[in-house]
Chain length 207, copies 2
């Protein structure tokens, strides 16, 4: 079996996939396609992804693009514990949280942590975009915590993809002075403590 992950450790979505790979105990190679240096837009990466995005995964010659597709595929074909919830309601909670994160969460969180940590990457420091980002980040995190309810993880009793979606972006937010504002959502603190304690979170901290 050959498994190659294209994407650099600074990308939150790459870390999402790596958390799953660690949870599965998978062997894989990684090619560090550096987003900050513009490497995803080099011809060799555009041949892998027509819009120059990471992560991309190659599994025995089968190429998978887009994080949600990669997560479902790898969870299914790799041995190790399943990260897919075991009933239809929890699977829907997982998908819903992933969808809300993709549609509204990632962009909002990036506009906050990018402001402080990678301003060039997001086209410079824009105070208005940061403020809107804080509001929308809270709105998404609030919705995800509503989906979680009283369970330990977003889609139930065990970690699933949606937890691995949210955690890497929260790790960047935690490095900024806006963390207290963004994280002031009911239920978040306990979830965040639980996520940071996961071995797959610890093993994927970007260098």
């Amino acid at each position: 079996m050959s498994l190659t992950l294209y994407g650099f450790d600074g990308s939150t979505y790459v870390r999402t996939v790596k958390m799953l790979l660690v949870e599965k105990g998978a062997d894989f190679d990684q090619v560090q396609v550096n987003v900050i240096k513009g490497e995803p837009h080099l011809p060799e990466h555009l041949a892998r992804h027509p819009f120059g995005k990471v992560p991309v995964v190659d599994h025995d010659g089968f190429r998978v693009l887009e994080t949600a597709a990669i997560m479902a595929y790898l969870d299914e074909v790799l041995p190790g514990p399943s990260l897919t919830p075991d009933n239809a309601h929890d699977r829907a909670r997982n998908h819903m949280a992933m969808g809300l994160y993709d549609s509204y969460g990632y962009g909002a969180l990036v506009s906050v942590f990018g402001f402080h940590l990678f301003p060039d990457f997001i086209g410079g420091q824009n105070e208005d975009s940061r403020r809107k980002g804080i509001d929308n980040s809270k709105r998404v995190i609030r919705e995800l915590m509503k989906i979680k309810g009283d369970d330990p993880f977003i889609a139930g009793l065990a970690p699933s993809f949606s937890d691995f979606y949210l955690a890497p972006a929260c790790a960047y937010i935690a490095m900024t002075p806006d963390a207290a504002l963004v994280f002031a959502v009911d239920g978040f603190a306990e979830w965040w403590k639980r996520l940071q304690a996961l071995p797959s979170f610890q093993a994927t901290i970007p260098q």
Copy 2:
């Protein structure tokens, strides 16, 4: 069983869900939340979706947001034929195509058909945005047709979610003078003919 679909027939994503409901032979109620009239941003809809989007589905009191989550959930819990491919590779092709459509396809296609059909909805007619939209629409459709390969549908021998994602936006593109440009992609014409012939496509044409 009670099943309510919130969202108006003009929305391509609402039609995506309706195509699945028709394929499943499901009974459902629909609340026409009109995007063009701004109804998704009324408090009663914001209580259903914090970012004021459609579709939203309520199934026996369980609320599902985001089209990918709705599709997977309904396909699983409703009787009728399965719209989920029966092997891991085809499931990955389906998810990949949905991800590419969500991330790059929808916005590109809307900027083309919106220009001609709903200019107010997309903030007015912008020639540059239309031209970029044509390029990006073709790039996404080309990638989806590569995923399809020689199969009749995007993820294999039978229709799956990804076909129902792409078709409703193509129906709007077909009404514009840019159709010939956008649709000039290898393999598209046969796929599009096949999709338009589906009873679920016919039954969901917006009035």
